[in-house]
């Protein structure tokens, strides 16, 4: 761990502490909701980071498990009158079971083919949920019980904050463990990793199931938070793409990258939405294009002091990547 890494961990720790204290100082509802959303994306970015960042498998359809988690929670809370906590956990468990069943077969695919297969699963899940009228409410979706407690939004805020910290801690410990090194080995050279005795299928499946479990839980909490869930909303592809963008911006395969990425991108996109409402997507598109061209490995390598942030360093990346 370099000195820059230590500083970044301290920054993240202070950020979490400040966020934990925020509601006590009577932060406005708007600020709280903006940060809640940023934290939700941070959790999903950390989840994607396991499979996409560390293991190097470009999962492109994580929204499938977001939607399934939200649907299970919704069905359990409305039709079975379950409480919030067990319903969300069941959503997470069902997501992990499903991902465990399809994982070994799916993870035989690499590169674009894996990305496209996960995209196909996301679309198939949406169509099935939308078509299963009796249980899921079809295209209209479900209305979850409304929580009228005045501290409800603060409660959700703390849940997402806790989940972010928990995911970050899990990432930190795995990344310094045999499992984390195994993932990196698979990412860099899968055949080589196998030759070293790493059970690639098992390691990949673990990364995938862990990611899907966390995303499923996040979907369940989102369903309770938002109360109205329709297949259009909970299977919105943005729930797949935004976490990946956040991770790319922050730095893939790092602990702090997804957190910092979420804390930069989400407030920025909200700010753009308020100041340039009509053209916000276009500006966001330009930011995405520039990030990918000039920061292909994210902000992490500069923030941690591994590389100096100079104009020459920024211009080197596109020169290396052209045909």
């Amino acid at each position: 761990m370099t000195r820059g890494d230590k500083i970044l961990y301290i920054v993240c720790g202070l950020l979490f502490a400040a966020m934990a204290l925020l509601p006590l100082f009577g932060a406005s509802g708007f600020l709280l909701r903006t940060i809640t959303l940023a934290l939700m994306y941070a959790v999903m970015a950390l989840a994607w980071n396991f499979i996409g960042g560390y293991t190097g498998y470009s999962a492109f359809g994580n929204v499938a498990f977001f939607g399934i988690g939200a649907t299970v929670t919704g069905v359990m809370m409305t039709k079975m009158r379950w409480d919030f906590a067990p319903a969300v956990l069941l959503g997470g468990v069902i997501c992990s079971l499903l991902s465990f069943l399809i994982g070994p077969a799916l993870l035989r695919l690499r590169g674009h083919y894996f990305a496209v297969a996960t995209l196909g699963i996301a679309n198939a899940a949406r169509e099935i949920v939308a078509g299963w009228d009796d249980v899921t409410g079809g295209g209209i979706g479900l209305n979850l019980p409304l929580n009228t407690d005045k501290d409800f939004y603060t409660f959700i805020y703390y849940i997402f904050l806790a989940l972010t910290i928990l995911s970050a801690v899990i990432t930190y410990f795995i990344s310094r463990n045999k499992l984390g090194f195994g993932w990196l080995a698979i990412r860099e050279n899968e055949e080589g990793a196998k030759a070293l005795g790493i059970d690639a299928t098992l390691y990949k499946t673990l990364a995938w199931v862990l990611a899907c479990f966390i995303v499923g839980i996040t979907g369940g909490i989102y369903a309770y938070y938002n109360t109205a869930i329709s297949p259009e909303a909970i299977f919105n592809p943005l729930y797949s793409t935004t976490p990946i963008l956040i991770t790319l911006l922050g730095g893939t395969g790092t602990v702090v990258g997804p957190i910092l990425g979420a804390m930069i991108l989400l407030p920025l996109s909200t700010w753009l939405l308020f100041n340039f409402p009509g053209i916000q997507p276009a500006l966001l598109g330009i930011i995405i294009i520039l990030t990918i061209i000039f920061l292909p490995r994210g902000l992490y390598e500069y923030l941690s002091g591994r590389r100096k942030l100079t104009l020459a360093a920024l211009l080197k990346n596109p020169r290396d990547n052209q045909a």
């Binding site: 799916l106 690499r110 083919y113 297969a117 995209l119 169509e127 916000q280 330009i286 995405i288 990918i292």
Partner: protein, 294 residues
Amino acid sequence: MNSIQFAQTLVNGIILGGVLSLVALGFSIVWGIMHVVNLAHGAFIVLGSYITYTLYTSLGIDPFLGLPLTMITLFVVGYATERWIIHWVIRAPLMAKFFITFGIGMLLENLILQVWKADVRSVTTPYSGASLAIGGVNIPLVKLAALALSILMVIVFHLFLTRTRQGNAIRSTGMDLDAARLTGVKVAPIYALTFGLSTMLAGAAGSLVSMTTSFTPDAGARYTVYAFLVSVLGGLGNVPAVLAGGMIIALIQVFVGFYAPALKDAVSFVLLVVLLLLRPQGLFGKPFTSGKAE
């Protein structure tokens, strides 16, 4: 389903299949040759629809005569996009290439929204309602023309790729970048040309689609998804495979849609996943090696 319904559904499927092939052709070529999954493909199709719309409503140019103009415009837009943006990441990792096209798609969709607003548009000509009836089967003439033009363009593009010098340069770049370069192919302009041709075909698809269905600026995502289905089913960078893939997806859509409309997309996507697991190279594609598939 009686015999007339069967014949009608079959005809609808074949017409849809021709158009879907054209929708997917450019996407499949860019994926197969440049190893770029172009998530902005649908947005280029929609841009084609709007250009045809403007040519017809503002200048009174018939959509079929406007087709070449739309295609030329889209070629220029695509060529510039590759030269100025995608060019800089062509050797970057997969996710970077995914997201650069995602960003381009967002930008393009929003620009279309700014220029043409969010209203639902369609290109309706005096002859739009004309149709041919054969033994109880109804065939709208505009759709028949769209089918004929789609298949014509697919065939002409196939001949271009296999019979011309430029086409061979494009194919060899896709097969082995370094070998192509060694034999004197200038790779950078070939990539720009490939991307330009792909968006040109997207423009043609958009132009033909605009005559048969209404459209909005955000219609692109759906086309991109269909392009995915058709290319993966058929196989990449291979023109006849795209035509076959388009027909199969279209027939699944119309026949499943006849019995269970809610499930027509679910069946297509489940088929996509199963096919990827069993035959990742597509039904008609050649086997790929994992290294080259990146």
